[in-house]
Amino acid sequence: MQIVPTSLVRITRYYMIAAIAYLLITLAIGVLRTIVPIPSSLVHWAPAVLGWVSFPIMGAYYQFFPTLQGRDLRWENLTIPQFILVNVGLLGLMAAGWTGNGLALTLSAIIYAGGALLFAAIIALANLDLTKVVLTLRFYLASLTYFVAAIFLLFANVLQVGPSWATQTLALHVLAFGWTVMAIIGAEYSMIPMLQLKELRHPRLADAQFYVINVGFWGIALSLATRSATLTAVSGLITLVGISLFVYNIIASLRYGPSRLPHLDVSVKYFLVGIAYLVVTAILGTIVGAFRLGNLVPIHVHLGLIGFVTMTIVGAMYHVVPFVVWWEVYAPKLGYEEVPLLKQLFSERLAHFQLYGLNAGLLTMIVGFVLRANIVLAFGGTILFVTAITFVWAMIKVINHRKNLRTSSAHKTNETICGGIA
């Protein structure tokens, strides 16, 4: 009997690979802009937030929504056109930003928005059973809603067709906070206990935390739309309460009960470092908003996007990419022959080195921002870029295990299971 992977694995893998490509592009442009001016900041932030940040979430949702509801992915044939749309749209946006071509910008924005809406439709219309919305999915649903709102706000702003309150700052916060932070918190409520073989210590507290952080988010969004420093301060504090509850719950979960693993899983290490940056980012963001300290915005943005988001995505990829490759290549052989462990598909030492590299690069950049020294910024960016290259190499090595598919003896059997009995 053999388990045959579905293209669920394929679309998730495509998204992860494309995301890594956008990470390299983002870092390269980031280093470049410390040396020479670039035509538009869109060329830097678009691959960062619409590619590197958004793609892993989309890829993960295609896997998580069916998995967490105990079913298979539906409307699977639409996932590839959806993937193509967001890629064409994003590459078009970057090209239009570089050349300053307004028509190309409009068309690319429409194409990306079309892809984003198709993604939301595939998840919401075909892969959502409202009777099975567990904690993580509740966060994902909120995040998905904010994603759609963010895309409309962002492109209304880029195309200058939106109302005056729909600023780029508001749109990027809806994208970074609403779409990304909600997605990551939702994922970590499941993944951290799962990877450490623990259980979430306080599920009811997590339920309450969902509402607290959403109230904080709405307050921040409203404060950005109305430009109210007082509201920013109040909603920033509510957000901090929400984040504190999350941090407490995660730590309590890790400390509770017997430890069946001798060490922290490497992905969990990345997640915990990322959470530390989330706390710092939220505190700094509240201070920046409340006291109108615009010069600290780049530090706030980079702590959030690199410290929290990138750290988390890299950590997640060290679980998801080996897992999908293992699932495709080795799961059919489980019970028939010896198969490698997930952690044997990559070098844990290299993963730890990258954890240090990301921190070193980011902290160097923060020093560069504080000193307003482009050379320090370029140095920090270069550390990040080199670290990212080693990460790409690590992921390529994981994906190379797929060559074992061609020699798989298990594929010669006649029986087939594909998420059920065939």
């Binding site: 388990i3 509801q69 499941s190 198969v339 299971i417």
Partner: protein, 93 residues
């Protein structure tokens, strides 16, 4: 020849969780193990309700137990969203 409890435990120790590197028996995932002359029954509790390789682990476990010449092997699944589906699948092999 009737199956022995030691024989069953040895087979269960060959079913490795690819995430932890430990086997399902030493991880404490097996309970209610009953070994009779022509029948083995046990309860397999997954570490997570959403365990992404729950199906594969269940199948691997049944394959290993099938190497013991007994007439009937009953595997009950606990703490898994697709427990019913997996139990039905395991009953067929």
């Amino acid at each position: 020849m009737a199956a022995t409890r030691e024989q069953v435990i040895e087979k269960l120790r060959q079913v490795m969780d690819p995430h932890t590197g430990s086997n399902v028996y030493d991880m404490g995932l097996i309970s209610d193990l009953v070994v009779e002359a022509d029948r083995i029954s046990l309860r397999f509790s997954l570490t997570s309700n959403f365990c992404p390789i729950g199906m594969q682990l269940g199948l691997a476990l049944k394959r290993k137990l099938r190497e013991i010449p007994v007439e009937k092997i009953d595997v009950k699944i606990d703490n898994y969203l697709r427990a019913e589906e997996l139990e039905k699948m395991l009953a067929g092999i």
